[in-house]
Subunit: 485 residues, 2 copies
């Protein structure tokens, strides 16, 4: 297919493509800005198929940087700005990125301690244009355009290779569910370095619709946009939705062009759903992952009451099934869709192991499908914790703590929490001679991982429940007596 | 991708899929009817990958027959019911169809003179179900589902192999242009055996929207639907649009859910466009062909005034270019798109010749693209005539007449006509000894080809203008003196 941005610059030159707090850009203007910056990056040495890391916030510069790298045909490695230094080092080295492009608006304290080629966007803006620069003519379905790390069960983060075809089919699947309207615009308030955020930017290029780019989650500012502007769709995680609702004044209503909240990142409680209904805010719950380049399942508002607890039905291009069912029909969720990623970077064999012979992707999630085709997700096969929309993989956190002498064993478990849905807590077995307080362990964690991953409590136990074959029974840990340290 | 009909029966079981004059069907009901009939056809011996011809009108039975054959996974050969006996014989034999399934509502006088296996749908309805019948699980992008004959330059009709992928991308390209709305429904008033009609049925399965099936073009009946029902889109050729407008009473307006006329099959005059504007009927002009499984270019209503005479811009998945340009920028139109057909049946080499090395399809049409990417079609490279939305290829008609002794030469030319846009007329060179009247030639034509292809006038000349190399100069024929016979 033709280069998407160039295509929209031709199809909809005068239509609004990007809306910031104090300015907005048509597709023609966006294209001009992007091509100008791409020519500067070209001067800096970026070429087609180069792998370039970016460390960005939801800023104008970050947005332009993504699109410019895409125009050159680079593979963009999206770094989560909340990662610790160690995590950043791993992803930079694993991806073998040529260098890292840094957003001046981001907190650069961690990344600038790292010895890896990196440059601030501000430093590249003054480069001269490369007059010989040409954008790629076509976006080929099989070409990788984005790489996002996901941790999964092993604890070792895996770079998910997302192609143009993945983003295209993801956008089409969503359009066949939500519909498309020429007057649509999408509020981008989730991180651009997540698939939830990037997929909005890609939809803008494919549908030809505008994006409200939100630099930082500020409920007052976002509600103002949803009330006073013509914004029609917003992607949110449950915590964000609750913050928006709590911030709404009585009798305030979203604008008449508003269509729905697209909700991801975990289940929504019934009470919040009810409040949305009373406020005439349609909520489309959804299910997807980095490996499927955003949603594969969605629950339309018209089915929400009837199917409480469900994530919805498989989108048009998606096939879904449950394997290894128990007697309640619960088993592993498998997905077949043209938006399933190409592979894992440097670990093609691991990816192949997650694909079945008939091309289904083993999600690692468990759930069931009812007789009308509605999916009910029961959780991570490997006990992933979702805290404020962020995924926390217990084994990853456990691996990091395993490096401390004196810790003989640790299990990370999710604990229910009013604000965050879940928070991680730790069960630890300590060496008799070790003198470690909970505060020591929290401090260590904050130095070595994103803060949301750090356990909120440390419970000392003297053993873990095990099966006869020696495998730890994670779910039985709650039964043990413990001492808070 | 999953079988489209089964998918919609699950996604939208209670939504209206098909609306007839006195009844309508939800996707669940449509699926039930189609699967029941498919199991009967299975009893009749139809299997996956069988090639089956159909001779249908826009009837409920015709619609069900198409979908049932698709469920079995047969390749459906669509016969134009207006073809002559000779033309039908050619297409049946060329396609080597196992048999022809005939709609009892069609005029069967020609086809029933043909010695080729055929059966009326009414005779198959009483068959018992094949209990072992199973619909195909997936519609694979590369599998051929429909075959439609198109004549083109050579005069020898070519069976265009249309895949599921062709229909899918065609539908997606149109959705990215027109948008999709859950409440949409499409009026199918063009023939189901044309790509313009079949593509509506395919969009219904892909978008999950309803189809108003119109058995016969009746402007009063169609206007009633557009005024009183919730119909939102209608596909038309210019002649049909004019008939609808002429039939509208003063102050009558189409329903509030009505969105647009999708207009194909040739250019629209300015006066008709103006009338539509006054009546608030948005018109989307378009350009496409059997080989591209419907539209590749569309002109949105918002550009219509500014770009009179244009067919619009290339749809999102489509790339367009002009080659062999003359000094006015006019040349052959070439198209690259995932909806370009797979090949010609039995003539893969001919199809390959029409593809460039970089995968553009040579349309055989001439035109130019302006600096904003708008296409202006100037006509068939080979002087195709468009009469009432039907394509007439002069060489095909000339070939048929060449079989008459006494005709030494014939050139078919289009003549402007108020009602039909164009009508074919013939310039003939007769043997001195031949005694042929215009009426003789009209009678012969009516026996051997669809009536719309028969020349309306026969002009006798004594030579054709030629180039020095002996090639006939078609465009100079108007300069010659002639005698009406």
């Amino acid at each position: 297919m033709e280069n998407w941005l160039k295509k929209q610059a031709q199809l909809n030159p005068k239509k609004t493509a990007l809306i910031l707090e104090h300015s907005d850009f048509t597709f023609k203007e966006l294209d001009d800005s992007v091509q100008l910056y791409a020519s500067k990056l070209s001067t800096y040495g970026v070429k087609q198929h180069d792998r370039i890391a970016i460390f960005i916030t939801n800023s104008f510069n970050g947005y332009i940087a993504i699109l410019a790298l895409q125009q050159i045909g680079a593979e963009i490695v999206f770094l989560n700005t909340r990662l610790s230094k160690d995590e950043l080092v791993f992803q930079l080295r694993d991806s073998n990125a040529k260098f890292c492009l840094k957003d001046d608006n981001a907190d650069l304290s961690e990344i600038e301690q790292i010895d890896y080629p990196q440059v601030r966007i501000s430093k590249t803006l003054s480069l001269v244009n490369d007059k010989s620069y040409q954008p790629v003519e076509e976006f080929n379905n099989d070409d990788v355009t984005s790489i996002m790390y996901t941790s999964g069960t092993s604890g070792r983060p895996k770079g998910v290779l997302q192609t143009f075809g993945n983003h295209f089919y993801s956008a089409i699947g969503t359009s066949l569910n939500l519909g498309i309207n020429y007057r649509d615009s999408w509020v981008l308030a989730v991180p651009l370095f997540h698939i939830s955020g990037l997929s909005i930017a890609m939809r803008s290029l494919i549908y030809g619709i505008g994006v409200y780019l939100i630099p930082k989650f500020d409920e007052t500012y976002i509600n103002k946009i949803l009330i006073n502007e013509r914004a029609s769709i917003i992607s949110l995680v449950p915590t964000m939705l609750k913050r928006l609702l709590n911030n709404l004044a009585p009798k305030q209503k979203y604008n008449s062009n508003f269509r729905c909240v697209l909700l991801g990142g975990g289940p929504i409680d019934n009470w919040t759903l009810l409040r949305c209904n009373m406020l005439a805010i349609p909520v489309i719950q959804s299910y997807g992952m980095t490996e499927t380049a955003s949603n594969v399942v969605a629950l339309n508002n018209r089915d929400a009451q009837r199917k409480v607890g469900s994530s919805g039905q498989a989108l048009f291009p998606v096939q879904l099934r449950i394997t290894q069912k128990n007697n309640e029909g619960i088993g592993e969720i498998e997905v077949k869709a043209p938006n399933v990623a190409k592979s894992y970077l440097n670990m093609p064999e691991l990816f192949r192991q997650r694909m079945t012979k008939d091309n289904y992707f083993r999600t690692g999630d468990i759930g069931f499908i009812d007789d009308e085709g509605f999916l009910f997700v029961k959780g991570r096969k490997d006990d992933m914790i979702i805290s404020g929309g962020e995924n926390i993989y217990p084994e990853e956190v456990e691996n990091i703590y395993s490096k401390i002498k004196g810790i003989l064993g640790m299990l990370i478990i999710g604990k229910r929490n009013e604000t965050w849905g879940q928070v991680p807590i730790a069960y630890v077995i300590l060496d008799e001679k070790a003198y470690l307080t909970g505060q020591d362990l929290i401090d260590y964690g904050r130095d070595h991982m994103a803060h949301y991953k750090v356990p909120k409590e440390f419970r000392q136990v003297d053993h873990f429940p095990q099966t006869s074959s020696g495998k730890v029974l994670r779910r039985k840990i709650y039964d043990l007596p413990y001492k808070l340290i």
